[in-house]
Symmetry: C2
Subunit: 265 residues, 2 copies
DNA sequence: CGTCGAACTTCCGCTGGGTGAAAGTGCCGG
DNA sequence: CCGGCACTTTCACCCAGCGGAAGTTCGACG
């Protein structure tokens, strides 16, 4: 075949799924082919099979969308719906008490993924979406997840340029390193206007026996926020969930062997 | 190859995803192979690619689980998370007013899939799960979805044996046909102890321009239920969501050409 | 109403990615 | 030390998948 070697059928199928994004959840066959970098006839064949199984659905407009069957399978992800089911009651409690935005996120590679969100109608608007991604170095949940990530992940994030969202976003690797150490020391993270100039978030880790699995946070308007008052609330929620996940009462030893200021590699 | 012809690579990949169920969300390689009916070496190769992409994840115990990446893609399904995002505020309103279970479901083939559920802590326990499936002929949401399904779907459901869950489950096709006509006439469905002997549900359709897209319901203890009082609440919720989806104020003409009692095929 | 173009579908002969039995490896528990 | 189980790798064969190109459908435009 003319196909460049090294492109497996499976990789093509996965590439077709990967071209769907929150910004483009419905695509025509040609768009699919173009974005996946595959010949039209190839896409036509693969997509037909995906539709038959239910991984994709074809709308009346001829566009393809992600199918309900794939949603069903995806909902079996332990770090997705399973975690959400566990956390939702606790998140609702936090919402009852504060009526602010409550967020739940996990780390995936060098970014975070929002698993659940309770958006208060009268709370400060947040730009996150369930299933959406975000950088690790700015949000409250991101700082918690990064602070407890394996050292190599931290190094990779610190080595790459840190995108600036506001004037208060931490973009200096050395400052971020210190911030992460502080997060580990006090057990929670505060992101004050580091993503938008109107919001502040306070986040705490959710631990499983294997380490920090997720993070939970409150996002509030920065001018009516008292991080020190919110921290115990969020930490308590994190601890309830950690216990449910079987983490020992005492946090396990830090995942980073040496304090950041002693690492001069 | 020795493989029986007609088994495409894509179908094998999808078969591997399909063996994950709510009852078995974590499987070893051998289990995957056995359940998918594929040779171990084949599964080994395909699974390696799925893990690399993030469709599956391998735990410390060596078992494979659905990966977060697949959850992310699945969350782009318009009939999944998108519908949920739209409906959740309305569902929360219903919950505030009643403090009973609120459910949201869509039809997939000859079954229904639960998209979202708000389970009251003190409400009657329900056995449904987000992402879970159920038969169409027993629950409130099921009756609504079936009543407004294309005629051929109705015929297929009516032709197959109707599983009995309680003494009150409708298992006679003729009675079910009449029940569906009634659901279309009054605009809501009541399932009184047809699934379990302690629960009753009241459901209403959610319409889009193309037809009934989903159903919303309240599930309450049968002995403290007044279906006639609950129906307007649920119907109002359905109508709010229908309007948001662009359905005209007046319901479109019935999807079933002839009233059931005139169809004597 | 005919023409054009874009999007989609089908066709066909070639070929390398996929195959699965079997051998190899690693890890228990006895 | 051995047998058993689960997983990984190997290898020669060959058909599923390939993609260019031709065919079809459909709506827009003059």
């Amino acid at each position: 075949m003319r196909a460049q070697p090294g492109r497996s059928v499976t990789s093509k199928v996965l590439a077709l799924l990967a071209v769907f994004t929150p910004a483009s959840p419905a695509l025509t066959l040609s768009e699919l082919a173009r974005r996946a970098g595959l010949p039209l006839s190839t896409v036509h064949r693969r997509v037909a099979e995906l539709v038959e199984w239910g991984a994709l659905e074809r709308g009346d407009d001829g566009r393809y969308r992600i199918g309900l069957r794939l949603w069903e399978v995806g909902s079996l992800a332990p770090r997705g719906l399973a975690l959400r089911e566990l956390a939702l009651p606790v998140m609702e409690d936090l919402y009852e008490v504060t009526h602010e935005n409550v967020q739940l996120a996990v780390r995936q590679d060098l970014e975070l993924v929002f698993i659940e969100r309770i958006a208060g109608r009268y709370a400060v608007p947040v730009l996150t979406r369930v299933g959406g991604r975000f950088a690790l170095h700015a949000t409250g949940v991101g700082l918690v997840l990064l602070a407890h990530a394996p050292a190599e992940v931290q190094e990779q994030v610190l080595a790459a340029p840190l995108e600036r969202y506001t004037d208060l976003t931490i973009t200096d690797p050395r400052r971020l390193r210190g911030c992460l150490a502080e997060v580990r020391r006090v057990g929670y993270a505060v992101s004050d206007r580091q993503v938008t100039m109107d919001a502040l978030s306070v986040a705490a880790p959710i631990r499983a026996p294997e380490g920090v699995l997720a993070a939970i946070s409150l996002v509030v308007a920065h001018d009516r926020a008292d991080p020190v008052a919110l921290a115990p609330l969020v930490q308590a929620a994190g601890r309830v969930l950690s216990r449910a996940l079987g983490a020992s009462r005492r946090p396990p030893p830090a995942r980073v062997p040496l304090p950041p200021d002693q690492r001069r590699q």
